[in-house]
């Protein structure tokens, strides 16, 4: 495996952790968020 400088490696892992955290945030918040959206659209349809 080709070697990366410690600074580049730290930058790579930092951005990767940020993106992974964002993906997890989307995963966990998808439940209440989408329940709310469905309720709003459903209420509009109901009048």
């Amino acid at each position: 495996m080709t070697q990366q400088s410690p600074e580049l490696r730290r930058k790579n892992i930092g951005i990767a952790l940020l993106l992974a955290g964002f993906a997890l945030l989307v995963f966990f918040t998808s439940v209440p968020f989408w329940q709310g959206i469905t309720r709003i659209i459903g209420n509009q349809a109901g009048g």
Binding site: M1, L8, K11, I15, A16
Partner: protein, 531 residues
């Protein structure tokens, strides 16, 4: 694009590890790219086999070959295997092979995670195959007969094979998200000095946008199928109206993923075309900045139009109108990309090797699919088209040319670079013409079947639809079998052929064409400088 200065001779060939270490524990982007592509090729044949059984069943009215539940399972599996097993891994394979070579990086940013991203896929495929096989055994429960959209309440009631599929989808999602993280970090951090974002090759741009889309929407699908799992086994009622939930909630969750997914499938192929067309027109890509803007617009607008897949579900007039307007607007940036390709070809010095043949076919047929998409976008019209064969025709016209043919173009374009051998151009052209003509004969009649009222996802149909189904099925057999020729061409090119030059194609430009064909095990160990 700008010119390059090589600061180091990259002709040294270092030793690759031995077999198990090389393939099971690979941290080399070229080998991992090869693994993705081989996996995708296998899945292409598995997904294609299910399609051929479907079309064989639909050859005549009546139920001849398979029982209805198995038929619906084949329909489900065909879509899941093609989308998650063939197209996405093939695109990831192209990304792994080409992105580091194009940006002057020695490898991907996170090579071990790259390996994990691939090896999760065979596990996921095994779970998906188990979901197909389990119902054949006593106590195995019912087949998954929901279609790839997995709508509850049916998906809550299906047997244990659904649990295998949910697990498979979780694994596929993990693979996609990890690969996307790797691609984003690589493109942001590992570009050669002097290569700004606006000097980056277009294939890299399309993958940057695709990777962000994947990170945004795959977790929502994961959330949706997790909620499905909870409804199935842990007593929740997310999708059960009797318990205070709503089945339509799943649809919103699914299609929030499902619509951007079609752009995830499309954009890498647009990236391939952005290289193929300039090469064989011997002109630079027209409108680099507008291409970047258009793909950002497609990605952004594509995130907020999901419910055009759900017009008939009972939303308010305001909601369906909003989604209709957004869906029609998205045709503008997509059209802009097509116009840029045409402008690239305009007054170019064109030759029509196989990659370029696929590129021209894509422009024509994808545009045609887009036109039927604009028809579907209109809400009152969609009340007629929804769940008919017209939709099946539409999405095959956008996905086959837009995704699969794009990948074929990329494979023919880059195979000489990967293997060091030219493929057999005559055989490749035979493959192209057989494939494209049979594709059109298969799917064009389905527009008329849909308009005449034939529903989708049905095992039997009214006798008045017989003739077009016979035509479609006969052509589908030719279409399916033509892929055996692709397999032969790929295998024979790997095994030998005329030696390929570093710059395989006369009009090719980019860092990847500075490298040997095949490239060394490690390339760009010293980064080039971009002027």
């Amino acid at each position: 694009m700008s010119s390059t200065t090589l600061t180091h001779d990259d002709a040294h060939h270092d030793e690759a590890p031995t077999f198990w270490r090389r393939w099971l524990l690979s941290t080399n982007h070229k080998d991992i790219g090869t693994l993705y592509l081989l996996f995708a090729l296998l899945m292409l044949f598995l997904g294609g086999a299910s399609a051929m059984v479907i079309r064989a069943e639909l050859f005549m009215p009546g139920i001849q070959l398979v029982d209805p539940d198995l038929y619906n399972n084949l329909v489900t599996n065909h879509a899941l295997i093609m989308i998650f097993g063939a197209v996405m891994p093939a695109a990831a394979g192209l990304a792994n092979w080409m992105i580091p070579m194009m940006i002057g990086a020695p490898d991907m940013a996170l090579p071990r995670m790259n390996n994990l991203s691939f090896w999760v896929l065979p596990a996921a495929a095994t779970m998906m195959m188990l979901s197909f096989v389990v119902p054949f055994f006593p106590g195995g429960g019912t087949q998954i007969n929901t279609g790839w959209t997995l709508y509850p309440p049916l998906s809550v009631q299906v047997g244990m094979s659904m649990d295998f599929l949910i697990f498979a989808i979780h694994l596929l999602g993990i693979s996609s998200v990890l690969a996307s993280i790797n691609i984003i970090v690589t493109l942001l951090n590992m570009r050669a000095p002097g290569m700004t974002l606006m000097k980056m090759p277009m294939f890299c741009w399309t993958w940057l946008v695709t990777a962000f889309l994947l990170i945004l929407v795959v977790p929502v699908l994961a959330g949706g199928v997790t909620m499905l799992l909870f409804d199935r086994h842990f007593g929740t009622s997310f999708f059960d109206a009797a318990g205070g939930g709503d089945p339509v909630l799943f649809q919103h969750l699914f299609w929030f993923f499902g619509h951007p997914e079609v752009y995830i499938l499309l954009l890498p192929s647009i990236g391939v075309l952005s290289h193929v067309i300039p090469t064989f027109s011997r002109k630079p890509l027209f409108g680099y900045n507008s291409m970047v803007g258009a793909m950002l617009a497609v990605a952004t607008i594509g995130m907020v139009v999901w419910a055009h897949h759900q017009y008939t579900v009972g939303m308010s007039l305001g909601a369906v109108t909003y989604f209709m307007i957004g869906t029609i607007i998205i045709s503008i940036p997509v059209g802009l990309m097509i116009f840029n390709f045409i402008a690239t070809m305009w007054r170019g010095s064109m030759t029509f090797e196989t990659p370029m043949l696929f590129a021209v076919a894509i422009i024509l047929m994808f545009t045609f699919g887009g036109l039927s998409g604009v028809m579907l976008a209109v809400v009152p019209a969609d009340m007629q088209y929804h769940d008919s064969m017209f939709v099946v025709a539409h999405f095959h016209y956008v996905l086959m040319p837009g995704a699969v043919f794009g990948l074929f173009a990329g494979i023919f374009y880059w195979l000489p670079k990967w293997t060091g051998h030219m493929y057999n151009e005559r055989l490749a052209k035979i493959f192209f013409w057989t494939n494209v003509i049979s594709f059109n004969v298969t799917f064009f009649p389905q527009h008329f079947l849909g308009l005449a009222g034939m529903p989708r996802r049905i095992i039997d149909y009214n006798v008045m639809y017989t003739e077009f189904n016979v035509l479609s099925s006969a052509a589908a057999m030719v279409f399916g079998l033509s892929h055996l020729l692709l397999l032969y061409i790929v295998i024979s090119t790997i095994r030998g052929g005329k030696q390929a030059q570093s710059k395989v194609w006369e009009g090719a430009k980019g860092l990847e064409w500075e490298l040997d064909s095949p490239p060394a095990f490690h390339t760009w160990t010293v980064a080039p400088t971009i002027k």
